[in-house]
């Protein structure tokens, strides 16, 4: 068909692959370390591949971590996060495609919430959760991070590229605003929604600080918190920590591979019809 199979394409692919391996190198190191014995990880000279690969760290993880419990809590947290995604998508659309009074100010307020360090919000937020009797509940853990300005801003920017003509045409045809949102805007936003789906999963899955602070009961901890309990105060166990980190990453990679299929070319025109 095409004679694009040329030097340029191969060179580009080669360069991209090389750089990708460099970017992924620390990650590959992490995995390699998880299969080493502790003495090997502190020996000098340092080694990359394990000399005597072992599952010992992973076995310890499964022995010492109440992973079933923590996994359940974490998954519930993730699910609640997806509710937040719907709210944020609505807000992104509202800011992107409508002109309304107060829009500028409200958007500034949204951006402003990105400009404060988390430590500042910790105590006031906890007091609010306490007041609402949400301590030691998974809802309480989910609320502070449910709506995030970064995501709303991202959605706004991407949704702003949706042609107004399409929306106007639908309105003229008599479609209600909600219907337009659900049947036109969301499908047209597939790539960015895919990105958001990945980000929402990551946020819920890696959730650490609020689960720790809000829970009064170890049985409410998430995977991240459970893993950090295995870390010692004064001595480091690299294989164990890397095994934990590696396990945590696998579901994220799976979710990424699932959703990134939607980051594809040319969606806009096909939606015009």
């Amino acid at each position: 068909m095409t004679r694009r199979f040329n030097i340029r394409a191969v060179a580009a692919a080669g360069a991209l692959t090389l750089v990708a391996l460099i970017a992924a190198f620390p990650f590959l190191w992490m995995i390699a370390t998880s299969f080493k014995t502790l003495p090997e990880t502190v020996s000098s000279p340092p080694t990359f591949l394990p000399a005597h690969p072992t599952w010992a760290a992973y076995r310890r993880l499964f022995d010492e971590l109440a992973y079933a419990r923590y996994l359940a809590n974490t998954l519930i947290l993730v699910a609640i996060g997806y509710v937040g995604l719907v709210l944020m998508a609505m807000a992104g659309y509202g800011f992107a495609k409508y002109r309304f009074r107060g829009r500028g100010t409200l958007f500034m307020l949204v951006l402003a919430t990105m400009m404060v360090p988390a430590q500042v919000t910790m105590i006031p937020t906890y007091l609010i959760l306490n007041f609402a009797h949400l301590t030691n509940t998974i809802t309480g853990m989910a609320l502070p991070g449910l709506v995030v300005a970064f995501n709303i801003f991202l959605l706004t920017q991407f949704m702003s590229t949706i042609p107004d003509e399409v929306l106007e045409a639908a309105r003229i045809d008599g479609a209600g605003e909600l219907r337009i949102f659900l049947q036109i805007v969301l499908p047209l936003s597939r790539p960015i929604l895919a990105v958001q789906a990945i980000l929402t999963f990551i946020a819920g899955w890696n959730s650490f600080l609020w689960p720790l602070i809000v829970a009064n009961d170890e049985s409410k901890y998430t995977l991240s918190v459970g893993l950090s309990l295995l870390n010692r105060q004064t001595t480091v166990d690299p294989p164990l920590q890397m095994a934990g980190a590696s396990l945590m990453v696998i579901p994220i990679v799976i979710v990424f591979l699932l959703f990134q299929r939607h980051i594809v070319r040319g969606f806009t025109l096909s939606g015009l019809k």
Binding site: P39, Y126, L229
Partner: protein, 372 residues
């Protein structure tokens, strides 16, 4: 808690069996203790009983988070002050007289040394005086060659400069409890501390790892605590027999630092009776021995040290002996900031070659300001 979180519930099982009181344990990663504390204090909701690392004790006290137990103590024989090692009595932990915490586990600092490297450098026994320490460090550094040192000073360790001051015969707190580094002993200690840098006996990189340093021989002598014993055994089981611990080398004396964790009751706890029963149980010598066997943490009760499980281990004997001659770091709320200023001054002199007199003068005025 660190990794002891899993072991603790097993320990209290017997308590529940004999008293019927259920104990729910919540473990917090060490790095996040402060976050949990501040939110708990702000909301008023906390656990009934808390384990407090001694380095955090002043903060807990300042937060008013702990209940005053003074009047209740006489009812609980195991909580009486003379049950505990002399460096960790109730009086020492509660200098103002209001007993808000009782000892739980103890920790101290001793000299770790590589006996094989010492022998190779022609040193027969670990140093027992300051002079020996310095001389041995010189020999070890020379024998080790490039990239190896004779000793190790952790640049951000709160205890060491003050250990030297105590060993020089001085105090770091005046009679009113205020911290001061202006004494002659402090100056002697500073000079000794800095001499290791001046003679290039210690590493200057901030990220020098203690365990790796000891195991690789780059730092054949250093001051550390029992946790390092486990770290070395895990990291280099092949070194068994080639290293040991010894009491700290003495200046005028060989005072070390005592650390550890204590136990307290949340000020708003509604179960005072049960809380105190739990504390009493935890400070019973047999419980303390059981905890040592499970988690390898040293007991704070004197009689626990007589148990065969502890006397059998020669390293424990060294820790026990050192515990008999150890001081607490000041329990002042501003200690964190004060210590940070102290270490900054010392590092400026050691690493940036700042003028020692000037740095100490600045330090003293900073410390005075912090405690106004």
């Amino acid at each position: 808690m660190g990794d002891e979180g899993k072991l603790f519930p097993a320990l209290v099982k017997q308590f529940t069996a004999s008293t019927g009181i259920k104990v729910k344990v919540e473990s917090i990663p060490w790095d996040n203790v402060n976050d949990k504390l501040t939110t708990a204090v702000a909301s008023g909701n906390g656990p009934d009983v808390l384990q407090v690392g001694l380095s955090n004790l002043a903060t807990f006290k300042a937060a008013g988070a702990l209940k005053d137990l003074t009047s209740e103590l006489p009812k609980y024989p195991h909580l009486a002050s003379d049950n505990f090692v002399s460096s960790l009595t109730n009086e020492k932990l509660n200098p103002d007289g209001h007993v808000v915490n009782v000892p739980w586990v103890a920790d101290t600092r001793v000299l770790f040394y590589r006996s094989d490297l010492l022998t190779k450098a022609g040193i027969a026994a670990p140093p027992s005086t300051w002079t020996d320490l310095h001389a041995d460090a010189v020999k070890l550094a020379a024998a080790g060659g490039k990239g190896k040192y004779g000793y190790y000073i952790p640049q951000w360790d709160q205890a060491l400069p003050n250990i030297f001051t105590w060993q020089a015969g001085g105090e770091i707190q005046d009679s009113s409890g205020k911290v001061t580094f202006a004494s002659a002993a402090a100056k002697t200690a500073t000079d000794f501390y800095e001499s290791f840098y001046a003679d290039k006996l210690v590493p200057t990189n901030a990220d020098f790892d203690q365990t790796q340093g000891f195991v690789s021989g780059a730092a054949p002598m250093l001051v550390s605590g029992p946790y390092l014993e486990k770290a070395i055994n895990d990291a280099a089981p092949q070194l068994k027999g080639k290293w040991s611990v010894a009491p700290l080398p003495a200046g005028q004396s060989n005072i070390s630092v005592v650390a550890g964790s204590s136990l307290g009751v949340w000020k708003n706890s509604k179960n005072l009776e049960a809380d105190l029963q739990l504390l009493d149980y935890l400070d019973t010598p047999s419980t303390q021995v059981a905890w040592f066997k499970a988690a390898n943490e040293l007991p704070s009760t004197k009689s626990a040290f007589d148990d065969p499980a502890l006397t059998a281990d020669p390293m424990v004997a060294v820790y026990a002996k050192q515990l008999g001659n150890a001081n607490l770091l000041p329990l002042a709320p501003k200690w964190g900031a004060i210590s940070a200023a102290q270490l900054k001054a010392l590092n400026n002199v050691a690493l940036q070659h700042a003028n020692e007199a000037k740095e100490l003068a600045t330090l003293n005025s900073t410390v005075a300001n912090l405690q106004k």
